[in-house]
Amino acid sequence: MDTATGLTAKPSMGLLPSMFYQFRKTTKALKMFAVIAGPGIIVMVADNDAGGITTYTATGARYGNHLLWFLILLGPVAYYVQEMTVRLGAVTKRGHAEAIFQAFGAFWGWFSLLDLVLTDWLTMITEFIGMTAAMSIFGVPAWLTVIGCWLLMGSMTMTGRYWTWEKIALVFCVGNLIYIPAAFMVRPDVHDILWNSLVPNLPPGGFTNDLFFLLMANIGTTIAPWMLFFQQSSVVDKGLQEKDIRFGKWDTAIGSFLTVLVAMFLIIVCAKLLPGQSIGSAAEAATQIMPTNRWVGTLIAIGLFDAGFLGAICISLASSWAFGEVFGWAHSLNTKIKEAPWFYAYYFFDLVLAGTVVLIPKAPLVLITLFVQVIATTLLPAALVFLILLLNDKKTMGKYVNTPWQNFANISIVLVIVVLSTLYGISALFPALLG
C-alpha cells in the first residue's frame, strides 16, 4: 500500500485497471500535495522580500547577467537548509525556538532567540522601507502606507484560522511572480542569459568590495535565520505528520525553484534596462525605468510592495511563534485574540516598531536595507550549526536523521558563509585590500 495515498495495488491487474490505479494514485497524491503545500512555497517566495528585490535590482544593474549562475547555486542551498526544518517540525511537533531550548538548554536558546529578534526586527524595517518606497511611486505618502499595511496585516492574521492566512499569503506569492512577464517585455539577450546562467564567471573588475557586498547580500536574501523559525513553526501549526515529509520536501523544492526564478527574472530586467548603473533601491530602479518603459517600471513597483508585504507578515509571525513557544503562550493562527493575546500582541508590536522606524525623517533607508541582508547572512551560520546538530540527533529524529550527503552539503554551506563573512569583515577593516 502506498503510505502517502492509502491506495493498494492488486498483483494481477490488467493494463487498463493498472493505468486507472496509477491515475488515481497520482491524482490522490496531487490532491494530498495541494493540501500539504504552503509553508515551503510561502517561506521561499517571501524570501524574495523587499530587501531581496532591492538586492537583485542592484545586482542586475551593477553586474548585468554575470551573477545569474550564483543565483542558480543558491537554489539548492536554500532547499537543503529549509527541508531540514520540515523534517524537524514534522518529527518533533515543536517550533524551532522550542526545539533549540529543549535540545541545548536555556543558555543557547536565549542566544538563538536574540539572533532571531535582532535579524527579524532589522529585516522587518526593510520590508516597510520597500512598501513605503513602492507606494510613494504612486503618490501614496509613507504614513498612509504604513497604517494601511498595519490594518491589512492585522485583519489577515486575526481570522483565527491558519488555512485562511495561508491562502491569502499564497495570493501574495503569486504577485511575486510579476517579474516574469516584466522580463519578457524587455526582450533580453537569451544567449547572454544562458551563458551567464550555465558558466560561472566573474564580472569585469574581478573581486572587489562591492562584489563581496552584493554576493553576501544575495546569500542573505536567499537564506535567512527567520526562514528556519518560520517554516518549522508553520509546519507544526499546520499539523504536518511524519508521513507528510515527502510532500513537505516537494513544497520546499518548488518554493526554492520559484525564489531563484523570480530573482533571475528581476536581474535580467535590470541588466537590460539599467546596464552598469549604480542603483540604490528597487524603487529607484522603478522610477528610472518608468519614463522609457512605463509598464515594466510599474510592475517593479507593484512587485516591490508585494514582496515587502509578504516578507513582513511572515517575519513577524516567525518572531511571534518563537516567543510563544519559549514563553509558553498560546501561539497558533488557529486561535482567536482572546485565546492567544500575547502571541498577537507581540505580532503587532513587531509590526508597529518596524513601521515606525521608516517614518523617521532622513533615515538612510536604502543603506539600511542592504546592510540588513549582510548582517542576516553573518548571523546565519550560528543558527545553521544548531539545526545541523538537531538533525543529527538519532534519538529524536529516528530514520529522518541527516544523511552523510545532507551533512556534507549543509556543513559546506556554513563554511562558505563563514569564509565570505570573514572576507567581508576584512574588507570593512581594510577597504584598500580588495579595491
Binding site: 531550548f101 529543549q102 535540545a103 541545548f104 538548554g105 536555556a106 543557547w108 536558546g109 542566544f111 519559549v326 514563553f327 509558553g328 538612510p364 543603506l367 539600511i368 546592510f371 549582510v374 548582517i375 553573518t378 548571523l379 551560520p381 550560528a382 550549526v385 546538530l389 538537531l390 540527533d393 534519538k395 529524536t396 563563514v418 563573512s421 570573514t422 567581508y424 569583515g425 570593512a428 577593516l429
Partner: protein, 61 residues
C-alpha cells in the same frame, strides 16, 4: 510605576521559569563542542560589529 514594576517582575519570573524548565539539555555536548559554538557565536558577533562600524562610517561620510 507600580504597573511597570509588576510587568518587569513577571517578565523576570517568566525568564527564570524558562531557565529552570530548560536547565537540562536533551543533547549532551562535550566541552570542546561548547567552546567551538561559543567561539563561533562571539566571532560572528564581532563580524556584525565590524559591519555596524562600516555602516556608521558610510553614513557619516
Amino acid at each position: 510605576m507600580n504597573a511597570l514594576t509588576s510587568v518587569v517582575s513577571s517578565l523576570v519570573a517568566g525568564v527564570k521559569g524558562i531557565n529552570r524548565k530548560y536547565s537540562h539539555p536533551n543533547i549532551k555536548m562535550t566541552p570542546f563542542v561548547k567552546i567551538c559554538l561559543l567561539t563561533l557565536r562571539l566571532y560572528l558577533f564581532i563580524l556584525v560589529g565590524l559591519m555596524v562600524y562600516k555602516f556608521v562610517v558610510t553614513v557619516v561620510s
